[in-house]
């Protein structure tokens, strides 16, 4: 086993605070509205359900290589990282703070199935407010980057929020989509989407197919250090272009994808259509090897 493998610390297994500490400069994180403030959800309490002192999300300030950043991390272990009134308001406040105080970037470690059903209306509105606040931070010139590699992935409204970011870092274990496989299977049947077929689920929503389509900016290994390295790389790139011309280009690219892959039902279909060698073996490659293949295909 290589030294790298020995020192690897899994992002997937880590909780929200461990992820933040793995991302930012040692000792630099200062939490806002932390657990001591006991901001617990009254909507869960009224249903006699467990509450959390942070309502499942950690937000605060830190530095990354000495640069001031804001950072938020969802706690997938608590109600699937779902967004309720307080949870959503903390993230919205963080992005409003970014708009007002202009840090070098906002990092969002997303680990969420979307709206918390126990407070569904509050959650849906909260995600809309979060979307507007994120767009507001970007318009103020603050780049927002998402990181996805937890057990809940980024689904529902948080899947939309993730794609509003200026860049996304994903591990292969991370998943990004709108409707979870279970929901599609329940409504449309197991023939449409077998949610128990884990390999299929990863080929539809996992980090590798998302990197292939350009939905994820970087694919990294499931390692706190790799996510930190990815965040530094995105910060160094600077904020991408915005405005009408950039959105026109996005519109054309999304239309081209829809046309090119109109019949695709599996990530394998896309890898084959792109002429990638040994499409079946791509799932076996580590992040570096996979990124090299995609980079080569993109420049070809």
């Amino acid at each position: 086993m290589s030294a790298h493998a020995i020192t690897r610390r899994s992002w997937f297994e880590a909780d929200a605070r461990t992820r933040i500490h793995g991302l930012v400069d040692a000792g630099s994180f200062s939490e806002l509205c932390g657990p001591h403030e006991r901001l617990t959800s009254p909507h869960l309490a009224v249903l006699d359900l467990p509450v959390a002192f942070d309502d499942g999300v950690v937000v605060g300030e830190a530095t990354l290589d000495g640069e001031r950043i804001l950072v938020g991390a969802q706690q997938g272990e608590f109600n699937g990282g779902s967004v309720g009134e307080i949870h959503g308001a903390k993230l919205r406040g963080l992005l409003d703070r970014a708009r007002d105080t202009r840090p070098a970037a906002v990092l969002l470690a997303i680990d969420s199935g979307g709206v918390r059903l126990h407070e569904a209306n509050a959650g849906l509105i909260a995600i809309s407010e979060l979307m507007r606040a994120l767009l507001g931070a970007r318009a103020a010139g603050v780049p927002v980057y998402g990181l996805i590699g937890g057990s809940c992935g980024a689904f529902g409204g948080m899947g939309i929020v993730a794609r509003l970011c200026d860049g996304l870092i994903m591990s292969e274990e991370g998943r990004l989509g709108l409707s979870g496989p279970e929901v599609i299977e329940t409504v449309k049947g197991v023939d449409e989407f077998d949610s128990k077929d884990r390999a299929l689920v990863w080929r539809i929503t996992g980090g590798k197919i998302r990197r292939t389509l350009g939905e994820a900016t970087l694919l990294v290994d499931d390692d706190l250090g790799a996510f930190r390295g990815g965040a530094k790389a995105l910060l160094a790139r600077g904020a991408p272009l915005r405005g009408l011309a950039a959105l026109d280009a996005d519109q054309a690219a999304l239309a081209a994808r829809a046309q090119r892959h109109a019949d695709a039902r599996d990530g394998l279909d896309i890898w084959r259509a792109l002429g990638l060698p040994d499409a079946e073996r791509l799932a076996m490659l580590d992040a570096d090897a996979f990124n090299r293949i995609i980079d080569r295909a993109e420049t070809a």
Binding site: S30, L32, C33, H36, E37, H43, L47, V59, E85, I86, A89, K90, R92, G93, R97, D100, L117, H118, E119, A120, N121, A122, L124, I125, A126, I127, S128, E129, M131, A133, L135, A139, G156, G157, G159, I160, V161, A162, R163, L164, G177, L178, S179, V183, I184, V187, K188, E192, I204, T205, E215, L244, L247, Q251, L254, R257, A258, A264, R265, G267
Partner: protein, 241 residues
């Protein structure tokens, strides 16, 4: 749909219905507007989302030349996102996010944005564009929700009777435009007897580009924590030393 447009815009409208999408222009009492939306409780696919975002981008471009950003009236009629393996593989959420960015671009170019909910507005399909407007109005009988109570009971493993009983007093989770109004997610509820062109004019006039929904939810008593918590994070509440 034409009945609705006739009633909203008695001075005239030129809106093309193409499948489940609609796009065009109309005359409101406050002047010309763009009309962009969906109909017949559309399940939003990537194709529908692309047509919506194209219509928004075209509206922005058309008005750049004249220097006058006409308001955009969104008609939201959606049962939510399409549930399909192909759409998930294509990353439907990426198409929705692109649409949301286009809507935000229009706002920053000075277009006033008003949404009218017609029929139904659900979950992801509502998040993608309708819920991003400056002012959101529900037409009579409009349903607004994330999920039916029965499905919610199944997923949360809470007895449906219990959810139904709690829904009598709490606007927080149960379907209903009125609940969204109390929480500040909908600005106005229109009734059948109202003068809709006048209501629309007022919405167009009162809309501004800031997001006041948390304050509205607090003042209406339906969402009492969101504004306070967001403000505390924004202003920087740090641990007591």
């Amino acid at each position: 749909m034409n009945t609705l447009l006739d009633r909203l815009f008695p001075a005239g409208h030129d809106v093309t219905i193409d499948g489940l999408n609609l796009a065009g222009t109309a005359h409101s009492a406050t002047g010309p507007v763009h009309v962009i939306g969906t109909r017949d409780r559309a399940a939003l696919t990537s194709d529908i989302a692309l047509r919506l975002s194209q219509a928004v981008l075209s509206a922005v471009r058309d008005d750049l030349a004249s220097g006058r950003a006409r308001p955009i009236v969104f008609i939201a009629s959606t049962q939510g996102q399409a549930l399909s393996r192909h759409e998930e593989l294509m990353c439907l959420n990426g198409y929705f996010a692109h649409l949301a960015r286009c809507v935000d671009l229009a706002r920053r170019h000075g277009h006033v944005l008003v949404t009218l909910i017609h029929g139904e507005a659900v979950s992801g399909g509502f998040l993608a564009f309708g819920l991003l407007a400056d002012r959101i109005c529900a037409l009579p009988c409009a349903q607004v929700k994330v999920m039916d109570l029965r499905a919610m009971a199944r997923v949360t493993r809470i007895a449906p009777e219990r959810l139904e009983a709690l829904a009598q007093t709490s606007p927080v989770f149960a379907p209903g435009a009125e609940n969204y109004w109390r929480m500040g997610g909908i600005h106005d509820l229109w009734s059948d007897g109202d003068d809709w062109p006048a209501q629309l004019s007022r919405a167009l006039t009162e809309a501004d580009g800031s997001d006041h929904r948390a304050a509205l939810g607090a003042s209406r008593g339906g969402r009492t924590l969101a504004r306070a918590v967001a403000t505390r994070v924004m202003a920087g509440s740090t641990p007591d030393a």
